[in-house]
Each structure stands twice: as C-alpha cells, then as structure tokens.
C-alpha cells in the first residue's frame, strides 16, 4: 500500500486501451472473422478469414463475485487461454481458447467448481440484475436472491439450447429499473405499493420542497405545513408508488415489508432481428416477497417459460409469439388473471387499447 501512495497521483487516465488485454489470436484476426458455429451449448467456434479458429466457452456467473472466485477465473484463463478472458454483456464469463482439445478439460474443471456452461443461442442466458438488499436503499426486493432462485429452476435451459429462440430475463429491484428490465423477454420488477411515509421531522432539513414537489410524475405531492413546519403531503389516490420522490428526498421512504413485492412482465426485446425492439408488458401485477426462495415468482417464471417453450415456433421470441397468438390466449395458457391493472392508464394509455376488430376466439 505504502508504495502506491508515494507515487504521483494520476487522474483521467481512462480505461485500459481497448486492445491491451486481447489475446494474440484475436489481435491477429481482429475484424477478420468470417462466420461461427456452435459446437455445444456454451461452446462457440469463430472462424477467421485466415482459417484460424477461436473457441469460446461461456460459463454462468452470479455476477456478485468474491476476489477468491475472480482469482480462480484468472487461474483457469492462465491454464487454458494464455491468460486472457472476458465477461459478457449479461455478466457471464467467457474463456477464449485456441486449442479445441482443451475445451473438454476446461468444462470439467468448471463443472467441478459448480459453474455451468451454456447460455448461447436458444438458451436462457444469465439474468441481468441489480443491487437489491445487498447495496441499495430503494430496493423493494432483493435481486441476487431472486436471480439465484430463478436460475436454479431454469438451469437446464441455460445448459441446453432447447427454446424456440433466445430468452432474456432481467430483474430490477425498484422502478428505477437499473436492470433495464423494460425490454426483456421476462422481467421481474420489485414494486412498492404504499405511498411514501413522510418523515416530517427531517424533511425540511434534508430536502428542497419545490424540487420534491416537481419530482412527482402525477403531481401527487403538495406543500403542507405540519406541526408548524414546512413539509409536504401526498394525495394518496394520485400516488402510484414510483419512488421518484424518494430518489430526490430521503425523507420519503416507501418500503413496506408486507406490501412491497414483485411484478412480472413479458414480451420485450432489444434486438432488431425480425421485429422491432419493444417494451415488456405486464402479466402479473404483484406477487409477495417471499425470501429466501420466492416460490411464487419462480413458479410464475417457470410457467411462462414452459408455455412458451411448448407453443412458440422456431425463431419466435416471447413477444413475437404472443403477438401471433394474442394476449387473451397467453393469459389462458398461463392461467394468470387479467385485471384492471393490466390496462394502461398512464400517458399514452389510449394507444394500447385494441383499436381494431381483430379478435381471436
């Protein structure tokens, strides 16, 4: 430590150069890849114009990693990949090999460490998620525990490419949606269902009332004098529990153990393949928070995956499939209840109504 502090102070150096950690085979064939093949779930082979072949072994990760595990990854990278590895945009780990003969030994070592290999093509990949109770004040639920519970149930679809198309799941622990769940095939979203419990004592000290009032998307907050001090009040019928007031003012916490919970959304996507990117749509407005294993959530997600797997056609993402069969049938097949909450009543609500006589029976 002491060595570090005496060195000159560096700032604004930016990240390491983009080529710095690339393995030699990548540097040699950079931008010269011709096509790829899948050798097994989680195992890809990219073939370069030069004829060289790069093998990728993709392994699942809990994302929340100890330095002990990271060092283990580093060891594997040294042993199999000339010391280089990468993470994916969905937090998996990828080992990049030149020698196909080393794939199986690597997979064995991973298996021994309890690390599944998969997540490619028409598999379920890792769940993009957020901090939850591990590190965030806003959380209506935990993220890591949900992910673990759901992935345990879906692990076979990670290690087998047995779905009609890619299936992307995301978890966000509050409406800020750091997990960007809004465009996922299946999204699990933590929700509050009680208006903020205003802490009138501290509010004037820690928050600017005008900013606070302006923060509410529905105009539910108005100035009020409480016990002679300037504070605010919330018109409860106008509050839809978004938590934006809490983001700007700590004196507006929304957490409520009994009423917080989870909502489930489906049919969003990001890629431009076939259909345009689209938002996920509500299918279950609320499920209770039941740590440590969230059985209701696991059951609902498993149900959706099973029905989708049984019914969708090859290449149909969740949303594309539902587009074809229609939402009424989706609710029928899953047995989920359709309620008034499913009907949009926010800004562009009218555009979500069924504005045609296209009906399936």
């Amino acid at each position: 430590m002491s060595t570090a502090t005496v060195q000159s102070r560096l700032t604004d150096i930016g990240p390491p150069s983009y080529q710095k950690y690339l393995p030699p085979i990548v540097l040699r064939n950079y931008g010269q890849w011709r096509h790829h093949e899948t050798l097994a779930p989680g195992v890809l082979c990219h073939i370069a114009e030069s004829g060289e072949r790069l093998y990728t072994v993709r392994a699942g990760s809990p994302r929340l990693l100890s330095i002990q595990t990271l060092r283990r990854y580093a060891d594997l990278a040294d042993r199999y990949c000339g010391g280089s590895l990468r993470f994916t945009s969905r937090n998996n780990v990828e080992f990049l090999l030149e020698d196909p003969a080393r794939i199986e030994p690597l997979k064995k070592e991973l298996a021994a460490l309890g690390i599944p290999v998969g997540g490619t093509n028409n598999a379920i990949s890792n769940i993009v998620h957020t901090q939850g109770w591990v590190h965030c004040h806003s959380a209506a639920t935990d993220a890591s525990g949900l992910v673990k519970s759901v992935m345990d149930a879906l692990n076979d679809h990670f290690t087998h490419e047995d779905l009609p198309a890619k299936l992307r799941i995301a978890v966000a622990c509050c409406l800020n949606m750091c997990g960007a769940v809004h465009c996922s095939d299946i999204a699990i979203l933590g929700v509050h269902r009680r208006p903020p419990q205003i802490q009138h004592e501290v509010l004037p000290k820690v928050c600017e009332v005008p900013t606070l009032i302006a923060s509410c998307p529905t105009g539910a907050i108005r100035a009020a004098t409480v016990e002679g001090k300037p504070s605010v009040e919330v018109i409860e019928e106008q509050c839809m529990y978004c938590g934006n007031c809490f983001s700007v003012c700590p004196a507006m916490p929304l957490s409520d153990a009994e009423h917080d919970g989870l909502s489930i959304w489906v049919g969003g996507k990001v890629s431009n393949a076939r259909s345009k990117p689209s938002f996920s749509k509500l299918v279950i407005p609320w499920l209770p928070n039941h740590p440590p294993r969230w059985p209701e959530v696991v059951e609902a997600v498993t149900k959706i995956v099973d029905v989708y797997r049984g019914e969708a056609r090859r290449y149909e993402r969740m949303g594309e499939w539902i587009d074809r069969i229609g939402w009424p049938r989706f609710f029928q097949l899953t047995g989920f209840e359709f309620t008034r909450y499913h009907i949009d009543d926010f800004k562009h609500a009218g555009l979500s109504y069924a504005r045609s006589a296209h009906v399936r029976y």
Partner: protein
Amino acid sequence: MADNNGNSGSNEKPATKLLDELEEGPWPSFVTEIKSAAEANDSARDLLGQLEVSYEEKKSHWKHGGLVGVLGYGGGVIGRYSDVGDQFPKVAHFHTLRVNQPAAWFYSSEALRKVCDIWERHGSGLTNMHGSTGDMILLGTTTDQLEPTFQELTHAGFDLGGSGSAVRTPSCCVGMARCEWACFDTMKLCYDLTMTYQDELHRPAFPYKFKFKCSGCPNDCVASIARSDLAVIGTWKDDIQIDQEEVGKYAAAGLNIQRDVCGNCPGKCMDWDGRALHIENRDCVRCMHCINAMPKALRPGKEKGAVILIGAKAPIVQGALLSSVLIPFVPADELLDTLKELVQRIWDFWDEYGTNRERIGELIQRVGLPAFLDGIGLDPVPEMVAAPRDNPYIYFQTEKEGDQ
C-alpha cells in the same frame, strides 16, 4: 494481518439461516461468494449479517446514499450507509467504486489479479462483474479507503467510472474482436469516446446522466437502443453478401428457408425458390434475421457504418423510452468525428433547455423532435420517424418561410 480496512480476523460468523438456503441448487451462489469473501474480510461478514436481517424483515437496511468521492472527481463512488450500523459496524459505511471496464470486458489474468489485490487491501473483497451500465463494481468500502483505492487503481491502469449527472461509462459489444458481423470497430469507438469525455465523465455538470453504448450490428448485444442516451448501432448500406451454395446446404440440412427465414423477414423482401435465395435489398431493413439464421451463407454488405440513435432510458419520470434514429447512416471511418461534433451540439442544447433530472430523451419528448433538430442544426429526414404525423395540429412557421 489487520489491514487498513480493519479486517481483524474475527471468528464470529453470523447465523444465516435464510441465506444458507441460497447455497443449494445448480446455479452459482452469490451467498457462497459473500461467505468466501467473509472468510478473510469483516465487512463482507457484516454484509452477510445485515443481508440476513433484510431477508428476515423483507426490507433494505441501507440509508439514502450520501456524497463521497475522490479528490477532483465528482462521481464514480456510490456512498452507502447502513441503518443497522450498530449491529453491523463493518458495513456502517459501505461505499462502492465504479471502475471503467476495459472495452468489451476483456481482461488479462494479471490485470484481474491486480484488481483483486487492490480490493483485498482496501475493500470488502466483493465485486460485481459487472454493473449493468458496464462498470467493474468494487462493492463496499469506507470513506478513508476511497482515495488510496483510487490511486492504486490508476497506477494499475484503471480509472473510475461515472455516477451522478455525468457521462456514464460507455460500453460496447465484443465486435471485431470476435464477431463476424461487426460493422464498425465498437471497441475502438467505445474507448475513444471514453477518452474524449474524461472530463464529462468524472465531473458531473449535466442536467442528468448520459449513457453511450455501441453495438456492432442490429442484434444490439449491449442493448444500446434500450439503455443508452446515445446508441451507435452498426449496419451496412449495400447488398447482403450471399453464398448461394451455403444457402443450399442450410436447406439440405433441414432449415425451412421459405417459412422460417423469408417468412420472418420484416422487409418482406426475400424469396427462396428452392435453388436460389433472392433478396430485394432496397426493401431490406437490415434486421439481421436472415444472416443470424444462416451465418455461413449470408453476411452484411461491405459498405459499413452505423445508425446513430438517441434518447433511451428507464421509466422514471415520464415513462421508459427507446432510442430513436437521429442519423440513419454514418460511414464507419467517420463515426468518431461525427459523434464528437454531434454530441457537443446535443449537450449544448441540453445544457440550455434541459431541466434538473431531465434525460435528453425526455427533453426531446417535451420540446418535440422538430425543435430539437432545429436546436442542434440537423435537417429532418424521414428515417427519423416510424411514420409522419397523423394529427393535423401543425405549428406552421409562415413568417420564416415566406408564404408559399
């Protein structure tokens, strides 16, 4: 050795009845990870304890974050304090550092170990690889450790990422490093942008956050269109390259080309007559589906570049937004210059008209795309809209145009 982080080697493991259940099952367990760190680190151990309480009580025990950071930087650290700090003193302060990942998350084992070593000395020993913006997240340390961690990181070649009303760490797909479809060099562009905007990244001065993401093709493997204020998505201008022989092989191997490839083409521009695949490239919307389905037979064209899109964000405040097209095509080699010039004009406009906590997408929604285009000096083109307006409420500017 008791280091600066106060790891005293205490032996009391907290009872974690609920969390223990999360060590079962086939998926790697974050609880196991925390326990593993907790073997050597007290704050990881207290985290475990506090988390167990959260699991029991079904609520977070973190207080609303406070501003902490390193000298001269306005962001990169998320301040976090426990509301049960008396019970778990080692997480009473438990800030995280956001560290710029290397482009497309490539590491050498050496670099990874270096980070581990630093974090062993200064933090909880816990990380997120990676945060959902893309940063390497070093999870949990105390205020006094921030500066030393920072200094060690920079000397190891790493810098902090963004937080607050600043540019956030740009991210990109693996692109040319391992993907045959990359239509521009995503890693280089991402790196160049990050280097260009060091100041905007480290010293928050915007109305709100600003995120860049670069995907090499319309598959958009970093979800740029959904999750970045400024998305760069590779595409091509000329014809899809076809190897008819390989197409035939896919057919022979059982792919139902007419139904599953042509039938799913959003441009309705493909035809397979059993022997040759015909693509009416003029109507192709560059969706990637046919190429995805037959990677050996089809490839993007040769005239490569990218679409620039603007404005995605999560729902708070006015509802989630997807990015929309701002420039339909920029040749690959002009991307950096075009973006630098464009982004400056966008920020100037945002600076002038954006209100507090208003993302660029929401500003555009509020003032309208035409006014935004006027403001940044860009001509309207039909590629910017899914369709022209359908309501007749037009603000004619008759003065400007004369009267015809």
